[in-house]
Symmetry: C2
Subunit: 277 residues, 2 copies
């Protein structure tokens, strides 16, 4: 695999960020992987896991490192509501960098950054884990997963192409979508399931825990994701999530009606419709 | 392990029934495992997997096989709403057998059978799989799992003790509970999660499927259980399940309010309360 970027900058080296670094190094996609994080301990773990080559706690190092090249790529892997601010600061420090992210929501981020004078293409690899932190990084996290790019009217064609090549090099399939379409899909396939899993998990008391089987563990696994990360996602996509909570509530109401009426065929239809998916 | 029963009769040799057979044979708990199922093909698979030694499609073979012994145990592994009828037929054919089951609900079964003149002690191993059929049987399915026994006032002490020894021999921890308490716990830890997973899965269309990550797969895995089995469970425990659906709905309402108000601390509290469980 030939180099796609000279310097890859990862801002936020948690599980996702350090997995990007590890995958980039595995596939030889960049010359140097620079990890930036406000937390020194997180950087140390990422270094030990060899997910990054160089580390820094401040973005201003980017002015120095990338002063004379123009094919650097900065991938922002912070909670979604800080991505716009981080992108603006990166652009202020070094205007030559292509900036992208891995955020689970895209509408607000792309709308904000479209209006700025910077090179940004939004991205979301649909891959992750209920775990968090660079200690759980995985070079194969993106292998055979879908990565959605959400370019806007202001995105340059060559930047979209390079980002597509970047994610394909990490084993991902790449799909281009409107930010609005992305957020609608993800509200249903990711944010609603997370909300539901969290609601389920929150109901269980200490005395009930022994009665939870492996099915319960599966169903609620995602609820152990970092609350700070998911608060951002929920709020950033709150209108779509609210709409999905309505649709989901209606579905449960239909089950309630069937149970109240002891309507066996209706209960079976409810269960069959799930199984066919 | 010394023999706990001479003949073990399993009625319904699906995944659970054939796993009981396989575990019994692994641990040497019975002399002979007799599998009874109306489906010849299911019996053939159970035989090939060596989960049972002898098979029959009708219960009347029990008259013959157990005529002169009185320590036989029949474990009913059929959908919950057929357990009472099967128990009555077993008792009619052979009054010497101790009868038990593996049903996920206990109140109605135990209440009905308490009034009959037969030796019944209800049981529920909290173990299973989203898969179905004897091809997926597992000798270790009950290892380190909890099995709840729900004896009633009419249960004999020696029968309870023997059934406890039986499940412990298969690697289970055994706990005695009131049927009502069992069904209340399971409504929350199993039946509600199943309903919720099914509702989630049923919402996903073909076009949205590529956007489902591993988290979605985990959350909805249990929804692929057999609809006929789960219709029975839902209807048999419908009042407790309806109560849990209310509690769950209230929890989701609290999230909706937080989202409508863009109340970040409230969203975080919602997510934190799930994570602490």
């Amino acid at each position: 695999m030939s180099k796609i970027v000279s310097d890859l900058i990862i801002v936020g080296v948690g599980l996702l960020g350090s997995s990007v670094g590890l995958a980039v190094k595995k596939h030889g996609v960049a010359d140097t992987v620079i990890g930036i994080d406000r937390c020194r301990e997180t950087l140390d773990i990422a270094l030990r896991r060899e997910a990054v080559d160089v580390v820094a706690t401040e973005l201003d190092v980017l002015a120095e490192i990338n002063a004379e090249i123009n094919d650097g790529l900065a991938v922002i892997c912070t909670p979604v509501r800080s991505i716009v601010g981080v992108a603006e600061r990166i652009a202020a420090v070094n205007g030559n960098l292509l900036i992208s992210d891995v955020g689970s929501t895209k509408v607000n981020i792309c709308r904000e950054l479209e209006q700025r004078d910077l090179r940004f293409v939004g991205a979301h690899p649909i891959a992750g884990s209920e775990k968090s932190g660079p200690e759980f990084c995985d070079a194969d996290l993106f292998q055979d997963r879908l990565t959605v790019l959400t370019p806007t009217a202001s995105s340059r064609a060559e930047d979209i192409e390079r980002l597509q090549l970047f994610w394909e090099s990490l084993g991902s399939q790449v799909l281009l979508l409107e930010p609005q379409q992305h957020d609608a899909f993800l509200a249903k396939t990711s944010h609603l399931p997370h909300a539901v899993a969290a609601a389920l998990a929150s109901l269980i008391t200490e005395v009930e825990r022994p009665f939870c089987g492996t099915g319960f563990a599966d169903t609620t696994r995602i609820a152990s994701g970092l609350p700070v990360v998911w608060t951002d996602i929920f709020l950033d996509n709150r209108l779509q999530l609210l709409a999905m909570l309505e649709v989901f509530g209606d579905r449960l109401e239909s089950l309630k009606t069937a149970l109240e009426d002891s309507d066996a065929p209706a209960v079976t239809r409810f269960l069959e419709s799930a199984r066919q998916r």
